[in-house]
């Protein structure tokens, strides 16, 4: 990757991050390398335009939303710990882990993952996916020009199917319910991202 390899000492608060997000040290190193690669001017922080430099992301219909999800509302920069914390959402859930009630919910629990996905829909963070937001998502995903009425009908139907309390928007609970049964596969693919990391690290060495 061109840049010098990181070492654990380069990474601030490494131990704390490892503890918090449950990444292994090797993972963290790799992520740090990637972070440095993206951070072209070595400012120590990422900006939206750094993400924009990734070509494949530009082609992604919801690319800008994903980028936006990394940055907390109002902030323009992203430091490494936040970067790692967001990516920690995509680690596989370990069902065998005993849940420590005093410990805060791990980043990779199923709820957190769902919440993350939910936030991508719900841009204004009001806790509901309104019809307008759904329409935006649909417009983004259906890249070719589609008739407005059809979009409306699709959004209409989607909300109708999911909306249980009839407030004409999809709340987090409703979201969780609709995606629940096929999440067995989909979420696993969410989690799969990190398994692949593991394999790629081996190749890197």
């Amino acid at each position: 990757m061109g840049s010098s390899r990181s070492r654990m000492d380069d990474i601030p608060h490494a131990q704390q991050l490892i503890h918090e997000t449950d990444f292994s040290a090797a993972h963290l190193l790799r992520l740090h390398q990637r972070f440095k690669f993206l951070d072209k001017y070595q400012t120590g922080e990422l900006r939206p335009r750094d993400f924009g430099a990734i070509p494949a992301l530009a082609l992604n219909p919801i690319g800008d939303r994903i980028i936006g999800a990394f940055f907390s509302p109002g902030r323009e920069t992203l430091d490494f710990p936040s970067f790692v914390r967001i990516l920690a959402h995509f680690r596989p859930t370990d069902p065998n882990r005993s849940r420590d009630s005093t410990q805060q919910e791990l980043a990779n629990s199923r709820t957190r993952k769902l919440k993350f996905a939910f936030q991508l829909y719900d841009q204004d963070r009001d806790g509901k996916i309104s019809r307008a937001e759904l329409l935006q998502v649909l417009r983004a995903m259906l890249e070719t020009q589609v008739v407005e009425e059809q979009l409306q009908s699709i959004a209409e139907r989607a909300i109708q199917e999911a909306d249980l309390d009839k407030d004409d928007a999809i709340s987090f609970d409703e979201f969780r319910r609709i995606v629940f049964f096929f999440f067995v596969f989909c979420l696993q693919s969410l989690e799969k991202v990190n398994i692949d990391h593991k394999m790629s690290i081996r190749f890197l060495k």
Binding site: F37, N60, A162
Partner: protein
């Protein structure tokens, strides 16, 4: 307890029917046999009777000649010439028998709950074979050619065409490991152990050499797709396990083919070298990849052909069937894996063909595939039974018992060992329960038998055949019968009945994009990255090439949505509410009704003309029926249920009455003033389990619409829904009417609604079919 006398009557009548059929069949076959006496020498039932035809023609000619040479006889008003129709007659009779048996089993409910159908069919085959043998005739045997060329392809095509691709691909690694490594392990373990067994003194098996044992092992080790399908279909386990076992049974064909040929060649040659083993590996790669490539090739051809069939809709299904069959046969020519070729062809063809063909063709394909595979399966099991009775057997206690035991042991060990390795790479680990089901579901079936049948004649062959049949019987009967209670006992997750919903589709796509994005951010070329690349390639090049018209640029979501809407349209109309057609035809009608919006028009029409026409045609066809129906039935009459399967009349009536009650309740509840547009709440289940629940807040015509549950499961959903709705009338507005509702007041709304209704009906009462419509007008259902 009012059911029992009915039951008794039902079962006794079924029994009588079966008995009657037996006697009819047997008597005819006996007569046939006596007439010709050529059931001997293992005549193949389906042999293309060219030679025979000549014989028959000759004999009849000589017969006539002899007739005319004698003094003039009375002109025969009625004569008997069975030879003429012999072969097709027998074939039809066999198939008819098989299907009547199948029918009989389902009439007797208790039996079919306990015993899987495959077992019953084998028993029937045994009985028929026994009867035939007792009479002294020679029974037809499950000929390998018959099996591999005619009986097996429909089942595989049915399986491949409707393969759940997403699950299959996600578990591809696991499936491949089980199929390849698992089968290899099984073959060698069984072969090796049997060789060791044969060395035991006193078993009289000394002449069985290692290669024969390995050959035997390779035959018996393959999990059989037919048996797996037959049993797993009835137990409804969750998709993961189903796809694992089933996928394994499909993909191990390549391994089986290679091993079989390998060992058969070598058992003649006598020795094996390392070079041969390496060639074997190469052969395996060639067989599997070659098969897949052949399948893909024919699949693309099929998809491409379907692009041009818009004027000859009637023959569309035939293209699908024939291309697939050609793929199978072509692969078999080169000794490639025919099964994999067939699967690849079906998988490749399906998305493009479905985008091109008409709805009726789609239904035809679906039904024909199901029908053929059902018939094939039934015939296979019956013939298996008959062949068991007919074939020469060489029973050797040691060999057979050890075979069964060792097969079981090797399967269990194989699954456990492989799962241990696989779980390191899987995210959803396979639990012990899963492993048990996978191991237990490894049924052997007719493929093993046919392969054994293909062996060259020898004493060993008979012994092998006996052992194979025993293993098959054991797995199908014992494992097949007990797997259902075991599944219940272990509380294995069942298949989730998921409704085909637009939400799932949206969120699935969204998640795919999300994960691809995350992978890109991490700089990692993973699973999603490549999938995304493939999708893009598909969209830009392949779809343009293979899909006709402007549907090639239609995004997947839109086509999915259109499909849903079309299904709903049909259900809606069939359930009889002709008056209101809410958003069902929104995309179609809106374009017609809103002239003022036509100014801001689209660059690409959202629904192509042909699609529009198709929707219209369907609606018209069904509307005409419903209009007639509505004339003769009053509002409180119970309507004929078009979906007669799955539903008992009594239960249905009860539900209807209940619904009527609720309907009347709704009608008296004043609706919210703002929302007066008619409402439809739809719960959707895939394919046949669809029901629509139509509530009407306040319609100017005051007509109720009829809820239409079409399956028992749907009813509970119905109640759920209606309970939720009970408090308010839920309304569904079309996109534009919603906008208008916000700005107009009620009075105008009412008027516009009426106008709309009128416009809708005008839209529907379009002029009759014009010339250039799709050519399947003759297919009016």
């Amino acid at each position: 307890m009012a059911v029992s006398p009915q039951f008794v009557r039902g079962s006794s009548s079924a029994f009588l029917t079966c008995l009657l059929l037996f006697t009819t069949f047997v008597s005819v076959s006996v007569v046939a046999g006596e007439n010709n006496g050529t059931w001997g020498d293992r005549s193949r039932v389906l042999q293309v009777a060219e030679k025979k035809g000549e014989e028959v023609a000759d004999s009849s000619v000589t017969h006539h000649q002899s007739n005319s040479s004698e003094h003039k006889k009375v002109f025969p008003v009625l004569s008997f010439n069975y030879d003429h129709v012999r072969t097709p007659f027998e074939i039809s009779l066999w198939i008819l028998l098989a299907l009547l048996m199948k029918l009989g089993f389902h009439i007797i409910p208790r039996v079919s709950n306990v015993v899987p159908e495959s077992c019953l069919l084998i028993v029937v085959g045994l009985l028929v074979g026994g009867i035939i043998k007792a009479i002294g005739e020679e029974a037809p045997v499950l000929d390998a050619k018959l099996f591999f060329l005619y009986l097996l392809p429909p089942i595989i095509l049915d399986a491949g065409y409707f393969l759940p691709i997403r699950h299959f691909m996600e578990n591809m690694g696991t499936i491949l490991v089980f199929a390849v490594v698992g089968t290899l392990w099984n073959a060698f373990f069984v072969g090796g152990m049997m060789y060791a067994v044969c060395q035991i003194e006193g078993a009289q098996l000394g002449e069985v050499d290692l290669l024969s044992c390995l050959l035997f092992g390779s035959i018996i080790s393959a999990v059989d797709p037919v048996a797996v399908l037959a049993v797993f279909e009835e137990i409804h386990i969750n998709e993961l396990l189903h796809i694992l076992v089933f996928g394994e049974s499909l993909l191990n064909d390549a391994v089986t083919v290679v091993l079989y040929h390998l060992f058969e060649e070598f058992s003649h040659a006598g020795t094996v070298t390392i070079g041969d083993a390496l060639l074997g590996v190469v052969c395996f790669l060639v067989v599997s990849l070659g098969g897949i490539l052949v399948g893909f090739f024919y699949g693309i051809l099929g998809a491409f052909t379907s692009r041009f069939t818009s004027h000859t809709r009637v023959i569309e299904p035939l293209f699908v069937f024939l291309y697939s069959y050609m793929a199978y046969l072509s692969a078999e020519v080169f000794h490639l894996s025919g099964i994999m070729s067939l699967i690849a062809c079906g998988v490749m063809m399906r998305p493009y063909v479905e985008a091109n063909i008409s709805h009726k063709s789609y239904t035809t394909i679906k039904y024909f595939l199901k029908m053929w595979s059902s018939v094939s399966e039934t015939l296979i099991f019956i013939f298996l039974g008959v062949s068991t009775v007919a074939g020469p057997h060489a029973w050797n206690w040691t060999f057979v018992v050890f075979t069964v035991v060792i097969c079981l042991v090797s399967r269990v060990l194989g699954v456990i060992g492989l799962t241990y390795v696989i779980n390191k790479f899987r995210i959803v680990k396979l639990t012990k329960k899963d492993q048990f089901i996978v191991a237990y579901g490894g049924l052997r079936g007719a493929i093993a038998f046919s392969l054994g049948f293909l062996l060259t004649n020898s004493q060993m062959k008979n012994m092998f055949l006996t052992a194979i049949i025993t293993v098959i019987f054991f797995t199908v009967f014992v494992q097949g019968m007990t797997i259902r209670p075991l599944v219940e006992l272990l509380a294995v997750k069942k298949k989730k009945e998921s409704k085909g919903s637009i939400n799932e589709e949206i969120h699935t796509q969204f998640l795919d994009h999300l994960l691809t994005g995350i992978e890109d951010i991490c700089g990692h070329y993973g699973h999603h990255h490549w999938k995304d690349k493939l999708n893009r390639f598909n969209k830009t090049y392949v779809k343009r090439l293979l899909i006709a018209g402007d549907r090639s640029t239609e995004p997947q979501l839109i086509s999915f949505y259109n499909k849903l809407e079309m299904k709903q349209a049909m259900m809606l109309v069939e359930s009889g509410s002709a008056a209101k057609l809410p958003t069902v035809v929104s995309s179609v009608s809106v374009q017609n009704i809103q002239p003022k919006d036509s100014t801001r028009r689209r660059a690409i029409p959202s629904i192509s003309k042909s699609r529009e026409q198709e929707i219209r045609k369907i609606l018209r066809a069904n509307l005409q029926k419903t209009r007639q129906r509505l004339r003769s039935y009053s509002r409180h009459d119970l309507m004929m249920d078009p979906f007669e399967d799955n539903l008992s009349e009594v239960r249905f009536r009860k539900q209807r009455v209940e619904m009527e009650r609720r309907m009347s309740h709704y009608l008296t509840v004043p609706a919210n003033r703002q929302e007066t547009t008619p409402v439809r709440k739809v719960c959707f289940e895939p394919e046949h389990k669809v029901f629509t629940y139509i509530t009407d807040g306040e319609s100017p015509k005051g007509r109720t619409s009829r809820p239409h549950p079409s399956s028992p499961d749907a009813v509970s959903l119905l109640y759920e829904e209606s309970q939720r709705d009970n408090q308010r009338s839920v309304l569904r507005a079309k996109g534009d009417t919603e906008l208008r509702a916000k700005t107009l007041d009620n009075q105008e709304q009412q008027e516009q609604q009426e106008e709309e209704q009128v416009k809708l009906s005008r839209c529907l009462s379009d002029p009759g079919p014009n010339k250039d419509e799709e050519g399947d007008g003759s297919f009016h259902s």
